[in-house]
Symmetry: D2
Subunit: 441 residues, 4 copies
């Protein structure tokens, strides 16, 4: 029987909380996680894992929504000046900030993978006393950037699980893989790791997330189903400026096109195949009050219960933007900058995780799988694993979340970190701990 | 010196008023003026004019907005049963209801043409006592059809002028032409007569209209300028029906296209080259409350101070409709069903008419030429005459007009008919009365 | 043990098919079912039922979408001239065409109610040979009106079940009620019967429908859940006409308001609480091409998975129409002309019907309850029954349906009529057949 | 006879060109002309004029579109560090940057006023060799700010005319007033000076502008008519954010309101009373791709041939924005940030200026008054002067203008400065030079 010593768990948990707070101080947006990723790579290397970073495990062309050169350079500079690991950073130049750590036990057995995301959000963190990171001094040091979705905790849990499994190495069979993913926000990063083939041989796949709608500390939800498939799109209309008083007719009005597009996109029909969502989140247009607007940029997203609904929305969105451009005599450019399919957890793995959760210390309630109503591009990995016959399981670890994910007062109850470390370690041990175990049929 | 006997004028005026009332009882919409035109053709023939009707003077392909077979057949039947002249009607089958009467004096001289329009409007005539046609028994006998723009008076004046000039034939030189035009409403008819070449050799062109904004009886306005050029368009969107509850996504929504088109058309930019107008006058769409609308039909018009502005509006309208169709995934068909250019009266002819008006009995005020703010496709004829070096003059003959043109209570003070007959006859006599006169250089 | 003689069933089935064909020839739109309802009332009276019609069981103010006086009068005339029963028609003047027939056994027992709808659709029936009603001579005799949803069969089944139960009267306990409902199309009629209290004491409620998406003859589906709640709305914008060339600014453009409303309604947000639907089915606007449109009328509907979603849609629709009117400076009138809540069948009654179906002759397959994706205002009755502690069950009886419900070639395989009669009769017998049975607790 | 010495003109012209280049290097946006205004105030004081600045001649509440505190403070700092005059700057704190200089001759006579505007535009000046300010080293030193409309030349001409008139003081009667106006761009500044009463007693008012559509060097146009009246408006919609995937229905979408507003504003009807213009120049909305947009800000303008048309547009814009807000359930705030009425030059003063221009050195062509198709809030001053019985004249002084006003390559041929100085000085001398002259009746 393989068990994990309580002392080991206690020690790595203390370190993980410290790690999380360090990451919280230094949040990094998608594709710029130079400090976060390079330091985690170094930590996992120290813990005895074989670590890869950058291009080999991050297909460049499959990355979506990569920031411009200037933003990348500025983030690179910040990471360099604030403790980023130069060796690993070198492999990540240009924004290939994925990290994959592998523990090859040398014994035959299944391939088990865990995924942790690392990026922060463009939100200004709260400053009030009631917000613990502010009160206790680990508030974000970057104005306008914040870990408001718990990815700091995810990364810290990932590294900590690496340390625990490293200690248990002699009891494990098969291959264990820890994936640290960039750019989950905007569902921009997973596809590049999938495209690099990292998931192709995975038998068991686990993906934890701290917090879920009203999930208390001590509760966990093994399994989530019905993630909304989603696509993120950037739309630009380009027209011709003209003086609005002297010769308005010589302009080609990009804002008129944008207004038709906004109404047209929100007016895309509901679909009998499932729920859908459309949101034009931002619009910036125009060059001056008295100038016919020569430009308009929109950021929007569509979501659907399944890939068929998403495909419908995507095709309609294409049509709406072409038509809106035509109406105003301007040109349109529509770029896909994020994508996540729908995917479901595998019942057998969900059952296995649930069963282990029942006997995990600190877990007081194991709840039923939920219908997710948001998106996480872990689904791109789950989908690939499922296609290849493997089993995937998404996992919520309960914690209060301040005023909610993606708000300036988001925070976690850090005890959830220890729970996550223990549960995930035990699941891997259960899967890979029997040295005679084979891959699932 | 050529003068017109008061006795002759008195007699034809009495007949003209009778004629006008007869026409008022039997109004006929554009391209269905079978009764009106055939009887006028017969009257002018009796008066000694050489009369042509139908295809030779009405280019079929240049007609716009011709009603469907059923409506033509019904109007034909009505005309036949209510005194239409069979001989002339035969030449007008299918809706070529133009009439051109020619008086060739046999003496060299200018070609002088007068144009009178004949069609009525789809308006239900008022029934109240205060409305004279109702009170005196010559209200329209056709529900929903009414002479609410005075074309009954125009036709009657035209025939009466024919009678007067016939009597004066020996004093005239050159060629006189009376043009009875169908389908002025919607600016649909003039182009077909122009296309048939009827205006190509005209030296002097006159076009009267009874009534103008607040023009009292006894006033005339020789000359109008700045008619808004206009185009009338019929737009149809064709999509695909679907059950709105069961599978809305399988529909292609023509009403969504129409809504975008309505807003897009009204949103066409103002033009620095002059005033413009856009109006989507009617929209009919849909097949049932719970069915994705598979069809939408719009009738709209654009107008501009000049042909450049009109061309801009027309091109934009084309673009808007194509774009709106694309947005909703439906097809669009855009048909031009009416057109009139902008045109101006010729100062020399205006001056000549004004001078004769000063000495015409019953005319108490000769007013300055006005900027027209409506459209009349007489401009297509004026434009052709001007292009060929001739002189054109539009002419308003004052009369009260009830609650205005195109209203159910429109009516005229019939004394304006006599004024019109006398003035027009005197103008022709002035132009053609000198048997030695040549065409203008 | 109570059984139904095969001979009786065979006889009433033959008559029911004849009845259905008679109704198919004489389709009547909602609230004008004077002939259908009066004759059915007479038939049920003959069969020994106590029959009520008109106002007492049809709350006038709760009727929605009642046609205008003229249409009512015309339908009344038609019914009178084509065999409508004068006695019963008298009770239905003004369009209160509901019929409720009661069989009071005199023995204590549950109240069991069955609902059948009677109205036809504004569809022109197909004329081709391949369409059996055309081939066999019972095609609709009313141009533009057709039984394209099987309500002719429903009514015929209802009367036939009445005959069967009448014969079994001595074996029954409690009260049986047959409800013949007007105006199901547009979900306009059920509310008035509910408001009259007809469902208040019902313990068991059954509602059959012939045909369902790809349901073969011989199949039945006891139970349907998740009917989309729906609201049908008529919207009118009233503005001010003006000449589009002379003074467009003095108009108040109702079509502009309508265009904004169409886009605004379709742009109402999706709801996280369930599926929704929006459809503006028809729009008619305008008074002429060159007139600023003074009027626009829209017929639209919203649907939702549940009453909360429907309530949201309804509130938003109100807001959109007020805003659109304000934008164009016109007034808006929004009238609710149809409504059906969401409702679900009761598992116990579904189970009971399924069990009886298994042993019913001609039924070869008993399928699982389906998620309905359309609406039927039977749900208003189901909701009332459920609120009062009773059990409701919706029931699909399989048949091919030509090219689908609400199409010109809709038709049924008439053998489904016999199946419906037998199954419904057996269900009632099962519920009310035990003379000692009490109402459900 | 009063003449102006060529030597004096030559000298002030050289200084004026130097002054213009200095201003070109240090452009200042509206209400932040601290350096420009304070130095001009000092120069005019040195030249012997009585100078007022700030609040007494700049009604604070009538200022429109004043920048926020931060922008004012930054501009104040820049002016202080780059040669702004501290004494005069002190009077302009908070952005009251108007200057009025008065020359009271002590002799009875008319009040003559000249207006020069001072502000620059938010445009990045061209850097290419072909652009003289770049080539000769007086390109703007402020990124994103540029004198691209010639107000640097206007200010320089104003001060130079002050010097000339000061020298001629003994030959003058009445009162001369030089007005240096802030914030002409956006038509934001004139109203505050009018409100302060500065124009109330003016008999003659002159307002020069360098350059006009294709006006060559040496040409001048005395008189402009038909300035489009204009209003500049800032519109903000405020709604409620919500997660676009989790609960879109709980958002109140400000961008939907903005899209309806854009289409609604551009769809405001044309007006039979004259030309109009509508332009929504800029729109910024939204908080993130996956967030229901809680905010949207629009900057737009309307223009009309006359104040009636402008009033119509303004009233409609109010209605459209209220309606659009209502449609989306958000609130709207509409603020007028700029305004200029329509106004015309006085024929008598135009004639006088034209006559003097004929005999002014360097002027080779005196052109006919033009219909302006842009806006200049000098019209607010012209309107006030006209209301009080005075005469106003707008005056174009020809020069090539690079690629046009408001473009990055705008430049002037500086010889126009000398022409402007001489012509304006001569006009004032003509008006005020006769010491016995009285005010106009």
């Amino acid at each position: 029987m393989n068990t994990i010593s309580g002392e080991l768990l206690a020690q790595v948990t203390v370190e993980a909380i410290e790690h999380r707070r360090d990451l919280h101080r230094h949040p990094e947006l998608g594709w710029t996680e130079f400090r976060t990723a390079s330091r985690a790579a170094a930590m996992l290397t120290s813990a005895g894992w074989q670590v890869q970073a950058g291009d080999p495990i991050c297909e460049l062309d499959a990355r979506m929504g990569v920031p411009d050169e200037e933003e990348l350079a500025e983030a690179w500079r910040y990471a360099g000046e604030n403790g980023g690991d130069p060796h690993w950073m070198d492999l990540m130049r240009g924004g290939s900030t994925a990290v994959v750590a592998t523990l090859d036990t040398g014994r035959p057995g299944p391939v088990t993978a865990l995924r942790f995301d690392m990026d922060a959000l463009p939100i200004d963190e709260a400053t009030q006393e009631g917000h613990r990171p502010a009160r206790e001094g680990f508030r974000s040091r970057k104005p306008g950037v914040m870990h408001a979705c718990g990815h700091d905790a995810h990364t810290a849990i990932g590294v900590a699980v690496g340390r625990v499994l490293s200690e248990l190495r002699s009891s494990l069979s098969g291959t264990i893989r820890i994936i640290l993913q960039p750019a989950e926000e905007g569902t921009r990063g997973a596809a590049s790791i999938v495209a690099a083939g990292v998931l192709d041989d995975v038998d068991y796949f686990l993906c934890p997330h701290v917090g879920a709608e009203s999930l208390r500390l001590g509760s966990v939800i093994p399994g989530a189903t019905g993630f909304l498939a989603t696509e993120k799109l950037d739309l630009t209309f380009s027209g011709t400026a003209a003086h609005a008083g002297l010769s308005p007719e010589s302009g080609q009005n990009a804002l008129i096109a944008a207004a038709h597009a906004v109404l047209g996109l929100h007016g895309i029909s509901r679909h009998s195949g499932g729920n859908s969502r459309v949101n034009v989140g931002t619009l910036v247009a125009g060059a001056g009050r008295n100038i016919i607007p020569p430009n308009a940029s929109l950021k929007f997203e569509v979501r659907g219960d399944n890939n068929a609904v998403l495909g419908y929305l995507s095709a309609q969105a294409q049509r709406v933007t072409e038509g809106a451009a035509k109406m105003a005599g301007v040109s349109a450019s529509l770029e896909r900058v994020g994508h996540a399919p729908s995917a479901a957890s595998h019942p057998a793995l969900v059952e296995r995780v649930a069963s282990l959760a029942q006997s995990t210390q600190g877990i007081t309630s194991v709840d039923e799988p939920v219908m997710a109503t948001a998106s996480d591009d872990a689904t791109a990995m789950m989908e690939r694993v499922s296609e290849r016959g493997g089993q995937a399981c998404y996992l919520f670890v309960g914690t209060p979340v301040g005023d909610g994910h993606h708000t300036p007062t988001f925070d976690i109850e850090e005890r959830c970190i220890g729970i996550g470390i223990e549960l995930l370690s035990r699941v891997v041990l259960d899967i890979a701990g029997d040295v005679d175990r084979q891959s699932p049929a």
